[in-house]
Structures are given as structure tokens and as C-alpha cells.
């Protein structure tokens, strides 16, 4: 038994496996699919299948790149509006999540230590139920004869049901609800590590608790704010389920457009082109985030 173990230890280089296996996984399951999408975006749709990129003529391969999808994307105003609208809704979601999530996280971080695990669990608990079901639940709550309207009517507060569904309001309710934990958790992680002595030092120097919050707590939690914002904004731009179930005709989001291109129009190259542009759009905030994080790490060392 030890002989096999020794053989393995001497012949299989450990370090290369530790780095190699995840690298391979990433290559197969992330990089290559992205390249496939890129390839599809540059080809033509032939009835039910995508044309081949490489064709052989007289023994030499020729690569045909079809930019029609991209040209159409850049000329049709609808796509541009949709991208803008997606970014707008993602931004509003991020801001609302920050406004609601920061007090949440602050309260959690300042609670007695023995209560914090329980509070954390309460934030995480919704994740244990299906995401789809939770969004559907909001639908039943907000629909014209749904729970909220029925309760309000029975209490006599309103006479006619409020039209909440399929509006920007319902979309944002769903978005903020789903993404709030992603804002709270990084903020909580950051705020729980905040040294109380900084706050004491500020108080000692004559700063009222209110100003201490703005001058000391917020700047020192900047890393948490940025991490939370990135975790909300980046996925929110490409969100499909929530706009589909809770959004309406005036909530244009790129995820739905992509779906429609893919399934309704059966235009794979178009859909892939939309996806590629969306990825490029998100790359900019991600690059900023990355740079910020590496600057932080450098400063710490």
C-alpha cells in the first residue's frame, strides 16, 4: 500500500495537479463555451443549423467571418436602448440594495457576537428555496387579485386593486429582493472587521456619532461597498428570469432580448452577438473592480 502511495507521490507532481485540474476545468467549462458563442456570433444561420466557419477550397481552409449580426446590433436603435435600459435597472437595483443593505449589515455587525450567526442564517435562509419559486411568489403577491391587493381592499384602504404587476416597480421589487443578500454579505464581512477603536478615536477628537458614521465608518467600509455593488450590478445587467416574470413591456432588459432572439426568432448568431456585446459591456466594471482589489492588496502589503 505504501509502495503505491510512494509511486504516486514521486511520479505525479502535486503542484501541477493542484493548478492544472482547476485550470482544465475552467478551460473546458468556461473558456471554450465562450469561444463557441463567439464563433456562432460570427456565422450565418442556415435554416435550422449554424453554418460552418471553416470551409475547404482546393485543399486550403478559408475562414468566413460574418459580421452581419454585429452590424445589425449597432444600427438597430432597439438594441442600444435595451442595453442602456438594462444598465439603468441594474444601477437602480444596486443603489436601492445599498440603501437597504447597509443598515442591515451595520446592524448585524454591531449586534452581540452570539446573535450574529443566527442573523446571518436568517439572511441566507431564502437561498435554500428555489429562486424561481420565490419570484413566482412575488407574482402571486403583486398581481391584481393577489395577496397584497386583497388585504388592502379588505381593510378598506383602497377600493380598486393597484396595478403593480408588469411594471418597473414590480421588476425592481423582484430584483432588490433577489440581490439584497449579495449586498449584505460582503458589507457585513467588512463591517464586522471594523475596529471600534477608530470610532472611539473619532469620538475622542470631537466627532459626533452622526459625523463619525460619514467620516470614518463609510470610508473604511469602501471595500465592502464596492464588493457588494459589483456582486449586484454585474449579474443584474444580464438578468432574465425576473424581467420575464415580473417585468412588463416597458422594462427592456437584455436578457429577455437574448432569449427572444434565441428561441422565438431562432437566430443563433444574433443571440450570440447580443451575448458577446453584453459580456464586453460588463468587462469594464469588472476590470475596474479587479484593479481596485489588486490596489487594495498592494496597499496592505
Amino acid at each position: 500500500m505504501t509502495n503505491i502511495f510512494n509511486y504516486l507521490r514521486n511520479h505525479i507532481p502535486g503542484r501541477q495537479i493542484v493548478i492544472g485540474v482547476p485550470y482544465l476545468w475552467f478551460l473546458l467549462l468556461a473558456a471554450i463555451p465562450l469561444l463557441i458563442v463567439l464563433k456562432i456570433s460570427l456565422s450565418e444561420m442556415e435554416s435550422t443549423s449554424v453554418s460552418s466557419m471553416i470551409s475547404w477550397t482546393q485543399g486550403w481552409p478559408t475562414i468566413k467571418l460574418n459580421f452581419a449580426s454585429y452590424i445589425f446590433l449597432s444600427t438597430d436603435p432597439l438594441y442600444f436602448e435595451t442595453y442602456l435600459s438594462s444598465i439603468k435597472y441594474a444601477l437602480v437595483t444596486t443603489i436601492i440594495c445599498l440603501a437597504i443593505g447597509y443598515p442591515f449589515a451595520y446592524f448585524m455587525a454591531r449586534s452581540p457576537k452570539h446573535l450574529q450567526p443566527m442573523l446571518l442564517m436568517l439572511i441566507m435562509l431564502p437561498f435554500w428555496t428555489s429562486f424561481l419559486l420565490r419570484i413566482y411568489a412575488w407574482k402571486t403577491l403583486m398581481v391584481n387579485n393577489g395577496v397584497i391587493n386583497n388585504v388592502l381592499i379588505s381593510l378598506g384602504i383602497i377600493n380598486d386593486p393597484i396595478a403593480m404587476m408588469n411594471t418597473p416597480f414590480s421588476l425592481l421589487v423582484g430584483m432588490v429582493y433577489s440581490y439584497l443578500p449579495f449586498m449584505i454579505l460582503p458589507l457585513y464581512a467588512n463591517l464586522s472587521k471594523l475596529d471600534v477603536r477608530y470610532l472611539e478615536a473619532a469620538a475622542d477628537l470631537g466627532t459626533s456619532p452622526f459625523r463619525t458614521f460619514w467620516l470614518v465608518t463609510i470610508p473604511l467600509s469602501k471595500a465592502g461597498i464596492i464588493a457588494g455593488s459589483m456582486l449586484v450590478f454585474i449579474p443584474a445587467v444580464g438578468e432574465y428570469v425576473i424581467p420575464e416574470l415580473l417585468g412588463g413591456p416597458d422594462t427592456l432588459m437584455i436578457g429577455r432580448v437574448l432569449w427572444d432572439e434565441f428561441f422565438s426568432n431562432n437566430d443563433w448568431p444574433m443571440a450570440s452577438a447580443v451575448a458577446v456585446v453584453m459580456i464586453l459591456l460588463i468587462l469594464l466594471p469588472m476590470a475596474i473592480f479587479n484593479k481596485y482589489q489588486s490596489d487594495q492588496l498592494e496597499a496592505k502589503s
Binding site: D195, R197, Y198, E200, A201, A202, A203, D204, L205, G206, T207, S208, P209, R211, T212, L215, V216, P219, L220, K222, A299, K300
Partner: protein
């Protein structure tokens, strides 16, 4: 003119009464700045961190709270700063009751043990932080910050962030920040705890010079006896929430009022004995190991059991037996601890008691003639001991 005349009179006639003397030299009685009355802090209903402490600190004094971990010194300091509320008692600053005033409204500033410099601000901004809250005019703020930077000699580092400074530099920024608002009272929480020995020695004196130059009253908390004795004008030795003794450093060291204080500060040998002879100018105390002849009277009676405290540096060692009948004892050298500047010898006396004697290494030949196993005689003069009743 009248003053010089009385001064002359006082100097030429030594028999003048003390009242004439004091009128010649106009003594300024120190003004009381801080008064603490009966402060108690109880945690969770039963743990008494600070137990009914009262003290007064005069303007310009550097007052040290000295004690081991858990003695309540930090809690007391935090109550002075306003971070904790006392369970009972009152705090007065320049005559005003500040017990219920929150920390950010007190004219008191603190230098934290961990410095607590704001990591997101430059050195300049850190020092200016407190000044900005006071709505000072911008040019005034700049002037004050620059003068503070000059005081601690960090003018060139004004634009650096705290993490770009060394420990000693951070400490100086923390000091500048705490002095920037010209507080009435400065609190120092283990100011030199984070520095290495060489830097600590250098900084001790620098710190005292700066504090005296600025003229601010100081309360400092430390567990380091050396720090307390070199820096403070008065020390309070604390244990379990109350003061054991309050006095100047030499008072606390040379005239401890109890075994606990004698043992806490520095090293001490304590002999248990009974008073044999009690006269107004001398006392003899019979101990198991030796006979003590103390060259001054004490308040006590014959037959009383007392402790005689003798510091190691007051003991002299020799190989020959002393000729007089008192203030010496004999033992075997069981341990020699070399400190460089001095050496401590552990002597096991015939009774089994081990005493420490410290000799200065004032020659370079490293031989005071004693080695392990030698029989040595420890002797001391009659003013070297302190008689302790409890």
C-alpha cells in the same frame, strides 16, 4: 524691593520661623485640574473593575496608573475619556462635572495603545481631523497642523498614509493628533507598549519633553514600571480596582506602604520578624535569618510582627564575615544572573530562604570573586530597609 529685603532677612537669620521663609519664596500652589470622586465600575452586576477610586491631578502633572493586567487601570482611563460610564461616582475637570458628558464633547484627548490612526487619511489629515470638527478657519488649521508636525519632527511625512510609516513614526503622529486640539487633559494608554527597547528609552524622554513643552496635564496608563517611573511625577499603584499607594516614583519605590507594593515595584527581599527593641532613634527586629538594626524610629511596639523590605541593590556581598552583629546574613550562591550592567546573585540562606542581591559591574574583569556554590555574606547599612506592618 520689599521682597528682596525679606529674602535677605531670611537668608541671614537661620532661626527665622517657617512662615517668614514661605513669604520670601512665593510658592505657587498647584491648581487642581482633575478630580475623581468615588468612581466605581461594575460589569454584569458582580465584576468590580474599578472599586471606589478617588484622586486629584494637578495642572501640569504627569500622573501614572501602574498595575498588571486586569487591575482596572484601562477601565479607569476609559471612564475619564468618556468611553465607559461609571456605575457610581463623579468626575470633575477644572471644577466642572463632566461625568455625564459624552466623549466627543469633553476637552480631553487620548493617545491609543494601538494608535488608531485613520488608515484612509494622510498624516496631515489625521492631525487635522479633530480641528475640523471645531470649525476652525482653514489657515488656522494649517498653522496648527504644521506646528504639531514640527513638534514631533514629522514635517516631511505629512502626505504619507499611516501604513507607510514605521511604528515609532506612527506613535509620533498619534501624539501630534492628540495634542492638536490643545486639550486640558491628555490620556495615554500604554504609549510605549508597541516599541522596541532602544526606541522606547529614547521616546520616553522625548515624550516627557514634548508634554512639558506643551504644558499639558497627563494621565498615563502602563504596566511597565520603568515607563511609569521615568515619565511620571506621581504614580498610583493599582491592583484589583483600587489604589494600593499613590506617590512620587521615589516614594513608591523607597517607601512602599505594604508588602504588595514593595513586591510589585522592582525586586525586593522581605524578611519576617518581630520587633525586639523599639526606641525613638532606632529599632531592632529579630528575624529567623538575621538581626536587623533600623536607624530610625518607627510607629510600632515591641513584640509586633513586621516585615522588613530590603531591595537587592542595597545589599553588598563579600567573602568575609562582617564584624558587627547585625544587618548581615550568610548563604550559598545558587544562581548568578548576568544583566550586563549589573549582576543579580541569588543567595540561599541557612534558613532556606533565597534572597537576591544586586552588584554593579563597575569593573570589566567580570569577577566579583563569587561563583556558584560559594559561601557569601550579604550585608547592608541601617538605612537600607523599610519596615512594613502589612
Amino acid at each position: 524691593m520689599a521682597i528682596t529685603a525679606t529674602a535677605d532677612a531670611a537668608s541671614t537669620s537661620p532661626a527665622t520661623t517657617s512662615s517668614a521663609n514661605t513669604s520670601a519664596v512665593r510658592k505657587k500652589t498647584p491648581q487642581e485640574l482633575l478630580r475623581v470622586e468615588g468612581i466605581t465600575k461594575v460589569y454584569d452586576g458582580s465584576v468590580k473593575a474599578v472599586d471606589n477610586i478617588s484622586l486629584t491631578v494637578a495642572t501640569g502633572e504627569i500622573f501614572a496608573l501602574l498595575g498588571g493586567s486586569g487591575c482596572g487601570k484601562s477601565t479607569l482611563l476609559r471612564m475619564l475619556a468618556g468611553f465607559e460610564k461609571p456605575t457610581n461616582g463623579k468626575i470633575f475637570l477644572a471644577g466642572k462635572d463632566i461625568t455625564d458628558i459624552p466623549a466627543y464633547k469633553r476637552p480631553i484627548n487620548m493617545m491609543f495603545q494601538s494608535y488608531a490612526l485613520f488608515p484612509h487619511l494622510t498624516v496631515w489629515e489625521n492631525i487635522a481631523f479633530g480641528l475640523r470638527r471645531d470649525d476652525m478657519a482653514k489657515p488656522d488649521i494649517a498653522e496648527r497642523v504644521e506646528s504639531m508636525l514640527g513638534l514631533v519632527q514629522l514635517t516631511k511625512f505629512a502626505q504619507r498614509k499611516p501604513h507607510q510609516l514605521s511604528g515609532g513614526q506612527q506613535q509620533r503622529v498619534a501624539l501630534a493628533r492628540s495634542l492638536a486640539k490643545r486639550p486640558k487633559l491628555l490620556l495615554l494608554d500604554e504609549p510605549l507598549g508597541a516599541l522596541d527597547k532602544k526606541l522606547r528609552e529614547k521616546t520616553q524622554l522625548e515624550l516627557v519633553n514634548i508634554i512639558e513643552e506643551v504644558g499639558v496635564t497627563c494621565v498615563l496608563v502602563t504596566h511597565d514600571q520603568e515607563e511609569a517611573m521615568t515619565m511620571a511625577s506621581r504614580i498610583a499603584v493599582m491592583s484589583e480596582g483600587s489604589f494600593m499607594q499613590v506617590g512620587s516614583p521615589d516614594e513608591v519605590y523607597e517607601m512602599p506602604n505594604s508588602r504588595q507594593v514593595a513586591d510589585f515595584i522592582g525586586n525586593v527581599n522581605i524578611f519576617d520578624g518581630v520587633i525586639e527593641e523599639d526606641e525613638s532613634d532606632h529599632v531592632t527586629i529579630r528575624c529567623e535569618e538575621c538581626l536587623h538594626y533600623v536607624g530610625h524610629g518607627i510607629s510600632g511596639n515591641t513584640g509586633m510582627s513586621v516585615g522588613v523590605a530590603l531591595r537587592p541593590e542595597k545589599i553588598m556581598l563579600s567573602k568575609e564575615q562582617p564584624t558587627n552583629g547585625y544587618n548581615w546574613c550568610a548563604g550559598e550562591v545558587i544562581e548568578i544572573v548576568y544583566f550586563g550592567a549589573h549582576t543579580t546573585y541569588h543567595l540561599k540562606l541557612d534558613s532556606g530562604k533565597v534572597i537576591k542581591a544586586q552588584e554593579l559591574n563597575n569593573t570589566r574583569d567580570l569577577s566579583c570573586g563569587l561563583t556558584w556554590g560559594d559561601r557569601a555574606y550579604a550585608h547592608w547599612n541601617d538605612m537600607a530597609m523599610v519596615v512594613l506592618t502589612h
